[in-house]
């Protein structure tokens, strides 16, 4: 059991700028983290990650066991088994694949296995739609996984590296998922900085193998029956670990900054300090939102923006601090909370956190195109009082509530 004591470097590590798609950035980060076992089934728009990893293994660039499984259900089973043996593991999926994997997702939590998974976020059937929104990832909120939602290829690359450190931390030992926009991030070629020396990544995120695992020298049984007098206590450890992980996530993000010169925090804010209107969203459309904030500011509307990054564990206290003094909080959700108290899942959680009504609109559902003008118009309606809080609004839906 190696300690995770790391000496902060005085000088940041040398990096070079390259251009990659989001998917290939994830694949590269995974390769640099040296997983022992990768199991995945290709499903659009995640396929390039799996293909690239298969290529790395085939070329001998990555010394990992690559298991081409026949479905996501088996992919998660395989990584659970491998992780229970002490292997660093990776899998990736999206949409129906995640749905098919669902049965095994809480098992990784209950067994406290630090599996890292990528999700090129995408909507769910029916009708069949291979395009992007956050319907798949949002279904994972109640399971106990750590959930990151990232903005671009650079952040996807960095967060995969951070996720291994967080998941394998002695205080955490929970699986983590890194989600990014299907197509809008997964297939978009972007510049990003990567370490010149790949060893730096493994030095930052060394494989600890410190979690509870099967070992012939120290025999154990994992996955036994948890009768009513035991289940809750065992599960509660995962609840507490997830709560504890909030601190660890921040700590590792700060340390990442020392090494790589980039950090993201639990959420990202933009011109929020004196804002009267805050636009809250997640994923790649944050760039558009920032542009809208600038435009509104030029017109005299005190606007700001906030991008949710870590949605599990929910950084409630910090969000409250950031948004409490802002009169109008406008959450643009990218997944539908069917029949819920608010039509978007994140709006529901933000409203619960602030304990007051928030404005809510849905956008990008089924990857409906969105531009900054559309967000601007919606924000103006909120600012002018044309839209009411606690109501259902949509951005881009034909005949929708506007």
């Amino acid at each position: 059991m190696t300690a995770q004591a790391l000496v902060p470097r005085e000088k940041k590590i040398a990096q070079k700028r390259i251009a990659l798609t989001g998917n290939h950035a994830v694949a590269l980060a995974v390769k640099m983290c040296r997983p022992d076992v990768i199991a995945a089934y290709p499903i659009t728009p995640q396929t390039p990650v799996v293909e690239k990893l298969a290529e790395y293994v085939n070329n001998g660039e990555l010394d990992a066991e690559y298991i081409p499984v026949e479905s996501e259900h088996s992919a998660m089973s395989a990584v659970i088994g491998a992780s229970a043996m002490g292997a660093r593991t990776f899998t990736e999926t999206s949409s129906q694949g995640l749905m098919h994997m669902y049965e095994n997702l809480p098992i990784a939590v209950g067994l406290r296995l630090p599996i890292v998974m990528g999700v090129a976020a995408r909507t769910i059937s029916a009708p069949i739609n291979v395009w992007g929104d956050y319907s798949d990832v949002m279904t994972m909120r109640e399971l106990g996984w750590i959930i990151y939602i990232v903005q671009n290829a650079q952040e996807a690359f960095d967060t995969i590296i951070q996720a291994y450190r967080v998941a394998e931390d002695q205080r955490v030992h929970l699986p983590a998922v890194v989600a990014y926009d299907g197509f809008w991030t997964s297939h978009v070629l972007q510049p990003l900085d990567v370490p010149e020396d790949e060893e730096d990544v493994i030095r930052f995120s060394p494989i600890t193998r410190s979690w509870v695992k099967l070992d012939v020298d120290k025999p154990l049984q994992l996955g036994a029956v948890g009768t009513p007098e035991w289940y809750w206590e065992i599960r509660w450890q995962a609840v507490e670990a997830l709560r504890e992980s909030l601190k660890v996530i921040e700590e590792i993000d700060r340390e990442f900054d020392k090494w790589f010169g980039r950090s993201y925090g639990l959420f990202d804010t933009y011109r929020l300090e004196d804002a009267e209107l805050a636009i809250v969203t997640y994923g790649s459309i944050y760039g558009l939102v920032k542009k809208v904030v600038n435009r509104l500011r030029e017109e005299g509307v005190k606007a700001g923006a906030l991008r949710l990054r870590v949605i599990r564990p929910w950084p409630g206290d910090k969000l409250r601090k950031a948004l409490d003094n802002i009169e109008k909080v406008f959450v643009i959700d990218r997944a539908i909370n069917h029949g819920g108290p608010l039509i978007g899942p994140m709006a529901t959680e933000v409203a619960a956190t602030l304990q007051r009504p928030v404005y809510n609109a849905l956008a990008t559902i089924g990857m409906r195109a969105i531009d900054s003008d559309m967000i601007y118009e919606a924000a103006v309606k909120v600012a002018k009082g044309l839209w009411a809080p606690n109501q259902t609004y949509t951005i881009g839906l034909r005949g929708g509530y506007e």
């Binding site: 049984q221 996955g223 948890g226 065992i234």
Partner: protein
């Protein structure tokens, strides 16, 4: 009127079915009844409890019964491990026991003088009529006798509804138990006295005698260390136990090979030889702490050296 009962037995003895049958029959007789069993993934032989409440008025609360009016025990070997249940019976209540022992001896084991003790050899009766060691039918009969309800005809109809087979055989067993069950009256009853204990609402007794600790102390990820099954003595699960005639045993160890519980052991035995010398020989023996009495050893023994004998 509200009668709360607790039925204790082992997986496979028909505890849950017995409560369903009595509830079914009670409903036919115009009562409200709720049979709420509490069990999970128990194996045959593991302790199981079931609750049965009968009332003149509708019942909405599925509350675990803490101080029952009657406890029905399917296996007299459970009395010691389930003493808390016997202690919880209200003074003036009933303890109905399936046992082949003499009623006075059962009274001594139960150890209470302020409750009715009902003794019936339910396994013997069931073997006679049904041909299976399932004591639930006879115990239903004993229950009907001491409670005065449900009526025997209703129990018969309940058998038809619930089992749909071997109704005559089961009913014959029920009827015989109704007739032969021995009821020992309490020596003195102080109905104002409280029971000695209450039944805990945790189901802890179902799986083992371990210490229940807080979430901070539970093994991470629910990992279970080796040797934990050693603490869990399953020997009490038996209805029949194996005995061996060493003169017939050829030490083929087929029983050892087939035993699912690792309960066949090799032991040293000292026996005098023909000229008075003492020889130490290896013999087959049983670890009765873990033997569940499945009878596989007797079944596979090629020389018939192992016999199963009734224990309760």
């Amino acid at each position: 009127m509200r009668i709360e009962t607790l039925w204790l037995g082992r997986g496979g003895q028909g505890i849950v079915t017995a409560t369903y049958i009595i509830a079914n029959a009670a409903v036919m007789d115009g009562f409200y009844a709720i049979a709420n069993p509490e069990f999970g993934a128990e194996r045959r032989g593991a302790p199981v409890k079931a609750f049965l409440t009968i009332d003149k008025n509708p019942i909405e609360d599925l509350e675990p019964i803490k101080t029952p009016d009657a406890v029905i025990i399917f296996d007299d070997k459970l009395i010691d491990s389930m003493r808390f249940a016997i202690d919880a019976v209200k003074p003036g209540g009933y303890v109905i026991v399936n046992s082949a022992k003499q009623p006075e001896e059962v009274r001594k084991i139960v150890g209470r003088n302020d409750v009715y003790i009902v003794v019936v050899d339910a396994v013997g009766i069931a073997m006679k009529h049904v041909g299976l060691p399932v004591p639930n039918g006879p115990l239903a009969g004993a229950f009907s006798k001491v409670m005065g309800f449900p009526r025997l005809e209703s129990i018969k109809t309940a058998f038809e509804n619930q089992l749909g087979k071997a109704v005559e055989e089961n009913f014959a067993a029920t009827k015989e138990a109704y007739e032969v069950a021995v009821v020992l009256k309490p020596e003195k009853v102080d109905t104002s006295a409280k029971p000695k204990g209450v039944i805990s609402t945790t189901s802890a007794f179902l799986t083992g005698p371990y210490e229940l600790v807080g979430w901070q102390q539970v093994n991470k990820g629910g990992a279970v260390g080796p040797g934990s099954s050693l603490q869990y003595l399953t020997g009490g699960w038996r209805i029949e136990k194996p005995i061996i005639d060493h003169s017939k045993c050829i030490m083929c160890r087929k029983c050892w090979l087939y035993c699912p519980d690792d309960a066949i052991i090799e032991a040293w035995r000292e026996a005098p030889g023909p000229r008075g010398r003492v020889f130490r020989t290896k013999v087959i023996d049983f670890d009765y702490q873990y033997c569940k009495g499945c009878g596989i050893c007797a079944e596979v023994c090629p020389t018939g050296a192992i016999q199963m004998v009734r224990e309760i």
